[in-house]
Symmetry: C2
Subunit: 153 residues, 2 copies
DNA sequence: CCAAGACGGTTGCGGGCGCAACTAGTTGTG
DNA sequence: CACAACTAGTTGCGCCCGCAACCGTCTTGG
């Protein structure tokens, strides 16, 4: 009853979800990276650090690494570059002298307050192409996959 | 009537869709890369070339680049490595002597026929965590975004 | 038919990043 | 207290990849 001459199973990359997800995430990133790079001179690791520190003042490098899922060396370098541009400042923690608390500087806060509305607006413009109900269905899928892969937080 | 003391708009990275999409795509890739790398010794560019050539025999490097959205140099190097492992073969095209038609070798076909079922199975296992209806809703969102960003094909 | 430009594919170069080793500081145990 | 094990963060090394220059091959137009 089953086919004898195995008809050579094939895989169309354009229909393969992992590939499509990669391509989609990449496209979305490109869509946003323009702002970060051209307008503020930030690359993605730097942007992620800015975003994290902007909403979690005084956090540590390891906190940033955990919540952005970037390798600690990448975080360390991004922090170094941002500090060199005086966008963030580091203060030794009194508690544990190994860790350094990261804060936005005055100009860092200024950039952050300019950057965030643009990013949110760009995100909204992207998601607007789905209606509200499609968006909801999409996000349910994203959340379920995140939980399955244990990516949340 | 508008707020006077702007309450400093913030952005939570964990709720920012572009970031979450990147993280998700990355998680999914990791989930699959194990197979490619540990079992077949392929990295992602190589896997994409194998997949493309396996379903489009005799295609050219530029076709691979266009359909995988990889830079042509990345494609060129991946092809070179696969050829060195005798998984693919290149034949000069009679039509245009600049381009070279890429085929799977005998051992390439063997690997392909082993690789594809595993990849599809792994994809299915991943998507199974969404039910059929959640999956449908999720894919509608993915397709809509792809069209919006002009990523299809 | 020849020059100029376009195009397929390759490669040197430099930048970014993961890995692993390292420093400095902390915690736990006898 | 001493010593081992652990943790926060930094950095040298090597790999991967995008960029741009390049080579050989078409193609077009004068």
């Amino acid at each position: 009853m089953t086919a004898r001459s195995t008809p050579e199973q094939t895989l169309e990359l354009a229909a393969f979800v992992p590939f499509r997800l990669n391509r989609l995430a990449d496209g979305v990133s490109q869509h946003l990276a323009v702002i970060y790079r051209k307008r503020f001179g930030l690359d993605i690791p730097q942007w992620r650090v800015m975003a994290t520190v902007g909403s979690k003042h005084g956090c540590t490098a390891q906190y940033i690494a955990a919540s952005t899922r970037m390798h600690k060396s990448r975080v360390s370098r991004a922090i170094g570059e941002l500090e060199a541009r005086a966008l963030i400042e580091r203060a030794s923690s009194g508690e544990d002298r190994r860790q350094r608390q990261v804060h936005l500087s005055r100009s860092g806060r200024r950039m952050y307050s300019e950057l965030v509305p643009l990013a949110l607006e760009r995100e909204a413009a992207l998601l607007a192409c789905l209606g509200p109900e499609r968006l909801a269905g999409f996000m349910v899928g994203v959340e379920t996959l995140e939980r399955f892969l244990e990516l949340e937080d």
